[in-house]
Amino acid sequence: MDNIFSIAAFYLLGLVILGSAILVVMLKNLVHCVLWLAVTFIAVAGLYMLLDADFLAMVQILVYAGAVCIMMVFAVMLTQRKDMKSSSLFNAQFRSAGLVAFLTAALSAYLAMRTAWTSTVMPVPPRTAEAIATLMLTKYVVPFEVAALLLLVALIGAIILAKEVKADD
């Protein structure tokens, strides 16, 4: 983060992320929201790339822009009403929504203030994927396995829901 290009890229990406995220919340058509969400995810991957975390950036694109958005698409398509307008509903509960939004913002601001933002002069190792893989299978093997187990449980749950266990068998 020293030369003019990285600074320009950072602010440009920040602008894209904030702009598209606001559009995700504000737009009235659910499908447009999903498409803008994909833009947000890809721009976040750009931030990771700016920090030389290329493996993380690729995971961000593959998992979020590639898979999570598709899952949203399935959700939108499976719950769609007759026309797009009646499935993209707005409500008038501004007060409770505003309270939740304010509390979330306040909490993140508080945590951001409390965190000691240490930055090291150490350069990023050239091969981050290997380092992440080693850590995942040594120091963090238990959380890694727990996450895998959680996904398996979700998978089995989804299969049972889709199969509809019948009373007679």
């Binding site: 498409l35 493996f55 995971v59 593959l62 822009a65 898979a67 091969r127 981050t128 994927a129």
Partner: protein, 350 residues
């Protein structure tokens, strides 16, 4: 001499700009623009040629002659077709979501173009030799699924929507065995860099050490590029043209272009991972590395075309069953066997 023709040209351009007293940054930018222009030219010419090749091959498979009127042996047929598509009126259905409808055929080409950045055209001929090259390939390719879907959705046509949903289901399902199959190769190499993977095949190509992975990859790649026998999303007899049904003229041409660019890309990955990339077989090194690379990708393209004109289309449920119940377990078993094999290999100490 011929081997280094492109690398030499890049060096010459860089030194020319440096000699003119311009800063190195300017030289880098110019070189990047030249690389992108070169890749674009490569895609355009390849697609023109591959479409002609596909039509000619289809004709021979069906005992016809194929395009033979425009130019010598019909060689200019696709150029003429492109001219026709460009000059056609763009028709937007009244119910369509206009912006998304017009934007998606443009965007579908973006992932394909981005992927060409890591294509190892020859020795020292990769535009960007990323550390996570293969992973980049899958990550960026996965974005095209949502673009396919958005294009089909925006058309506001029931066949387009069915085709789009089929595209999503199919591409997500076959991405899983494809990535898992390639993991076998990555395990052996220990790197995701394109050049490392090719250099690891100096002695033996991975098609011989990872034959199961190669077969799974080719099947999944056929499904990913939506070609017969997995072209359900554009099955003419049921849903006419799937997501592209409302597109005409240049909009259709962009979908078409991206489809053939993706065909080149899956062939590139097959060549890089399993067929030794730019490496010359039998020590025939007097033929330049980039010629070998082109020969190998055209061999793979030919194989994919051979599939297309040989097999009938399968049903949706067959497609899903085959992907999840055959290819995924098989690719997981391949990873398991590869791991054991690597341990035995190390224990023997070859």
């Amino acid at each position: 001499m011929v081997e280094n023709i492109f690398v030499g040209f890049a060096e010459w351009l860089r030194s020319l700009l440096a000699a003119a007293g311009l800063p190195a940054l300017f030289g880098d930018i110019v070189l990047m623009i030249v690389k992108v222009a070169g890749i674009l030219a490569f895609i355009a010419i390849s697609v023109l040629w591959i479409v002609y090749m596909e039509r000619k091959m289809a004709a021979y498979f069906q005992a016809r002659i194929g395009p033979n009127r425009v130019g010598p042996r019909g060689l200019l047929q696709t150029a003429a077709d492109m001219g026709k598509l460009i000059s056609k009126e763009i028709i937007i259905p009244r119910a369509a979501d206009k912006i998304v409808f017009l934007l998606m055929p443009v965007l579908i080409f973006v992932p394909s173009l981005l992927l060409f950045a890591v294509v190892p055209f020859g020795k020292n001929m990769i535009a960007v030799d990323l550390n996570v090259g293969v992973f980049y390939f899958f990550a960026v390719a996965s974005v095209s699924t949502i673009i396919f879907w958005a294009g089909g959705w925006a058309s506001a046509n029931k066949y387009a929507l069915i085709g789009a949903m089929r595209a999503v289901a199919q591409m997500i399902s076959y991405e899983v065995p494809m990535v898992l199959a390639i993991l076998g190769v990555i395990m052996i190499v220990g790197s995701m860099k394109m050049s490392d993977i090719i250099n690891a095949q100096q002695n033996v190509w991975f098609i011989f050490t990872q034959p199961v992975a190669f077969i799974i990859y080719v099947i999944a790649a056929t499904a990913e590029t939506n070609r017969t026998p997995f072209d359900l999303l554009e099955g003419e007899s049921e849903i006419i043209a799937g997501p592209f049904i409302e597109y005409g003229g240049m909009g259709f041409a962009m979908w078409f272009l991206a489809e053939y660019a993706n065909l080149i890309l899956v062939s590139v990955l097959a060549t890089t991972l399993f067929l030794g990339g730019w490496l010359a077989p039998f020590g025939l090194t007097f033929i330049p590395s980039w010629v070998w690379f082109l020969l190998k990708i055209y061999f793979m393209i030919w194989v994919f075309m051979w599939f297309r004109w040989t097999y009938p289309r399968i049903r949706v449920d067959q497609l899903m069953n085959f992907g999840w119940k055959v290819l995924v377990p098989l690719s997981l078993a391949n990873i398991f066997v590869t791991g054991i094999g690597m341990f035995i290999y190390r224990a023997i100490g070859w």
